[in-house]
Symmetry: none
Subunit: 415 residues, 2 copies
C-alpha cells in the first residue's frame, strides 16, 4: 500500500515578503512523516482571496490530505475562515464550546466580550471543530469525499497544541499507510563526492523501497536512509543493516548514527564521562560557547568560556605571557597553547578548547586572513591544529566553530 | 508602474520531511521586495522529477520571475541541473571558468579531482552561468520569452553570495529602467501601531512613487521608504526629506537612519567615543559577544566576555559573592549587579553588560522559565532590568540578546 500524499498551504503576506520564517511547515512535515504520510508539496500564498482559492483547488486535487495554517486571527486581513466556509458550501454557526472558552479568556484578561467578538466563536457547520486550548481561533477539519482538509492557526504553539491533541490521533485513525522509517549516518571531515565515490556500490545495491539522501553542512555530511514497507519490524532491521554497512565502509569519518547536532553528541560524552568542559575564545567571540549552550542540560558539564578578544584579557585572565604574544603573535601555536592551558587551570575543567584567528582583513595581525589556530587539552595531553578558511567573516566564523567542535570530538574519541 | 510578480520554488526532500527549515525563501523574498519585485507564491517540492516539472510549469505560467533553490549538488539525488537542461531544450557543455574554479578548490583542499567531479563543471548551453565563488555548483539564468527562470544552490551562503553578486544587479537591469532607492528609519521600544498612528499624516502625504514599509523585529521596528523615479538625484533628495520628517516626528525612539544591525550602531558609538565594552554572560552563553564580534573592527572597542555558565565561575572570575547567590539565587537583581560590577573591574572596560536567566525548564533554579535579569553599567551609574520571555530555549536566547543590545544602546544614549 502506498503512502498517503499530503500538501501544506501556509497563508500570510508576512511569509511572502520574508518577514517571517516558516517553521510551522517543518514541524508539520516531520510529524506527518512519522505517521507515514508524505508531504509532497508545500505552498505559501498571501492574504489574497484568489490566491488562496487557487492553492486550495490545486493542492486538494493532488493530495489526500491538505493542512492549511494561518489567516485565522480576528483582524481584517485574516480571511481564511469565511473563505473556507464558502469553499465547502456551509453556513457559519456559533460553537458553544468555543464561545465559552472565548468568554473565559476575555474574563481572565479583564476585557469586555463585545458583540463583534462573537464572530470568533463562529465556525462553518460543514467542519469538525478542533479545539484550541492555547488561543482564540479554533482549528477546522473538513471531509471532502475521501480527502481531508484541515485549517489551523499560524501561531506556532497554537498549531502544535492542536496538532498533538486533535489532528495527529485523528489522522492515525483515518488513514492506514505503510511504515516510513529513517536511519542516519553522520560524517565529518570529507565532502559529499568523496563519500558518494566511497559507497557507490552500497548505494547502487539499495532496494527500491530504500533511498539514500546526502545532507551536507559545514564540515559535515549527513547520510539519510529512508525506507517504506508494510512491516515496520522488518524494515527497521533492513535499514539498520544498510546503515551499519555504510558506517563500516566510511570508518572513522563517522561521528554518529543519529541525526543530532555535534554539540549534542559532545554533551552526551561529557555527561556519560562525568567530565567538564571550558573554553578560551578569541576570534569566535563566544560563538563556540553559544553552540555548546544550545543543548538543554549543558550546564551539567559546561562551566564557561573566557572570550578574550583583546590581548590584555588573554594575558590577565588566561595567563598568556606577554612575551609569547610579542614574539609569536596572538594568532600562533604558542599563544593558543598557553590559552588552552590557561582555560584548563582558570576554569578548573577536565577538557579545555582554545581558538585564536583572523576572521576578516584588518586588525594589526601579520597573519593571512582566515588563519585560525585551535588547541584542545586535558591534564595528560594537548593537541594544536592550524586551519585556513577562505570565506567572508560570518562564514569563516561558522566554519571555525564547526571545525572546533569536531576537534573536541576527535580529541575525546582519541582520534 | 506595477510590480513584477515572482515565485520561489525550493527543491529537496529534506524540506518536505521537515529536516531543514527553509530560511532561503525568506532571504530571497526580502531582497526581491527591496527591488520592487513581489513574491506571490512559494512552493516546496521533493527531489522528484515529475513534481519539479509540474511546479516549473505552474509557477512559470503565473509569474514573470521564478527563482529555484536546491538540488544542484554533485550527488545522485540532485537532479535539478539535468532536468532544467532538458526543460529548456539545451545540451550540457563544460564551462571553462567553472572547471578552473572547481580544480582550484580541489587543489586547495588537497583532494583529487575525480571523473565524476567533471559533471559539476557542466552547464546547459541555454543558460547564462551565475558564478559561485563560495562553492562548487554554479547558478543558472534562463530566459524564456519575457520571463526569467533562475536556479541557485540550496546552501544558504552560496545562494546569498550569487544573489548579491550576480542575480540582484542583473534583475534590476532586466526589469527596471528607473532608479530605485531606499532610506530607512530604525526605531526601538514602540510597536507598529503606535508608530503608524504617530506618522499617519506623513504617510498619507507620500507621493505615489514613494512607498513606506513597516518591518518589525524583536523590540524594534524598521521603517523603509522605497522610491522609484527616472532621476536618482532628485529622488534621493526627496527620500531624505521624507526620512528626516519621519525621524523628527518619532523623536527619541529613533536609533538609526540606516538599515544596519544594532551591534553595528553600538560599534560606531564606542569607536567615536573611544570607549571599551565588556560582558558577563550566563544564560546567553556567549551569544551577546558573538553578535558584538560579528561587526568588523569590533576588536577596537570590545575587550571580551566572561561566559560564566556555572556559579563557581561567576564567583571566581567575576567576584560574585557566594552569599549573594545562596540568598537571592543566580537569577536575581543582586547577582546580575555583582556580575556587571565584576565585568567592569576584571575586564577593565568603560561600559559593561551582564545577563543571567533561565532559558528552558530544568536546572536547579527556583525562577520561572524565561526569567532574565540584565544589568549595564559604567563607573558612574548602573541600571538593572527584569525580563520574561515566553518562548522555547532558542527563541528566548534570541530575544534576550536583542533586548540586551537595546539595553546597552539606551544606556549609552542616556535613555
Amino acid at each position: 500500500m502506498s503512502n498517503i500524499a499530503a500538501a501544506i498551504i501556509t497563508i500570510g503576506d508576512e511569509l511572502l515578503i520574508g518577514q517571517t520564517i516558516d517553521t510551522n511547515s517543518a514541524w508539520i512535515a516531520q510529524h506527518l512523516s512519522e505517521l507515514g504520510i508524505d508531504v509532497l508539496r508545500r505552498v505559501a500564498v498571501g492574504d489574497d482571496r484568489n490566491a488562496i482559492i487557487k492553492a486550495l483547488d490545486e493542492e486538494i486535487s493532488g493530495a489526500s490530505l491538505v493542512i492549511i495554517t494561518g489567516g485565522l486571527g480576528p483582524t481584517a486581513d485574516d480571511i481564511t475562515k469565511p473563505l473556507l466556509n464558502e469553499y465547502f458550501g456551509g453556513r457559519m454557526v456559533v460553537n458553544e464550546r468555543v464561545l465559552e472558552h472565548l468568554k473565559a479568556i476575555f474574563t481572565k484578561r479583564n476585557r469586555p466580550f463585545l458583540e463583534r467578538n462573537m464572530k470568533q466563536a463562529e465556525v462553518p457547520d460543514t467542519c469538525t471543530v478542533l479545539f484550541n486550548k492555547m488561543g482564540t481561533a479554533p482549528g477546522m477539519w473538513f471531509d471532502k469525499g475521501e480527502k481531508v482538509i484541515i485549517s489551523l492557526p499560524g501561531v506556532p504553539f497554537e498549531m502544535v497544541s492542536i496538532m498533538e491533541d486533535e489532528v495527529l490521533p485523528k489522522l492515525r485513525e483515518r488513514f492506514y499507510s505503510d511504515a516510513l522509517l529513517h536511519r542516519s549516518v553522520v560524517t565529518a571531515g570529507e565532502g559529499e563526492s568523496f563519500i558518494a565515490e566511497k559507497i557507490q556500490d552500497l548505494e547502487e545495491a539499495l532496494p527500491a523501497h530504500i533511498k539514500l539522501a546526502y545532507l551536507p553542512g559545514a564540515g559535515m555530511v549527513k547520510l539519510r536512509l529512508t525506507g517504506r514497507a508494510a512491516d515496520p519490524v522488518t524494515l527497521s532491521k533492513e535499514l539498520e543493516e544498510r546503515q551499519a554497512a555504510i558506517a563500516d565502509r566510511l570508518g572513522n569519518i563517522v561521528i554518529a548514527l543519529e541525526d543530532i547536532p555535534l554539540e549534542q553528541i559532545l554533551g552526551r560524552w561529557f555527561i556519560s564521562n562525568n567530565a567538564t568542559l571550558g573554553l578560551a575564545e578569541s576570534c569566535t567571540g563566544g560563538y563556540v560557547a553559544h553552540h555548546i549552550t544550545q543543548v538543554k542540560g549543558s550546564s551539567a558539564y559546561f562551566k564557561g568560556s573566557i572570550v578574550c578578544y583583546s590581548n590584555d584579557i588573554k594575558e590577565q585572565l588566561l595567563g598568556v605571557k606577554k612575551e609569547t604574544i610579542d614574539e609569536y603573535g596572538a594568532i600562533s601555536e604558542q599563544t593558543v597553547t598557553e590559552m588552552v592551558q590557561g582555560a584548563l587551570t582558570v576554569l578548573g575543567v577536565d577538557v579545555a578548547f582554545a581558538v585564536t584567528g583572523l576572521m576578516s582583513e584588518g586588525g594589526d595581525s601579520q597573519e593571512q586572513t582566515g588563519t585560525v589556530w585551535m588547541a584542545v587539552a586535558d591534564k595528560d595531553s594537548l593537541k594544536t591544529k592550524k586551519f585556513w578558511f577562505p570565506y567572508d567573516r560570518a562564514r569563516n566564523k561558522e566554519m571555525t566553530v564547526s571545525m572546533g567542535l569536531l576537534m573536541i570530538w576527535k580529541f575525546i574519541n582519541k582520534q
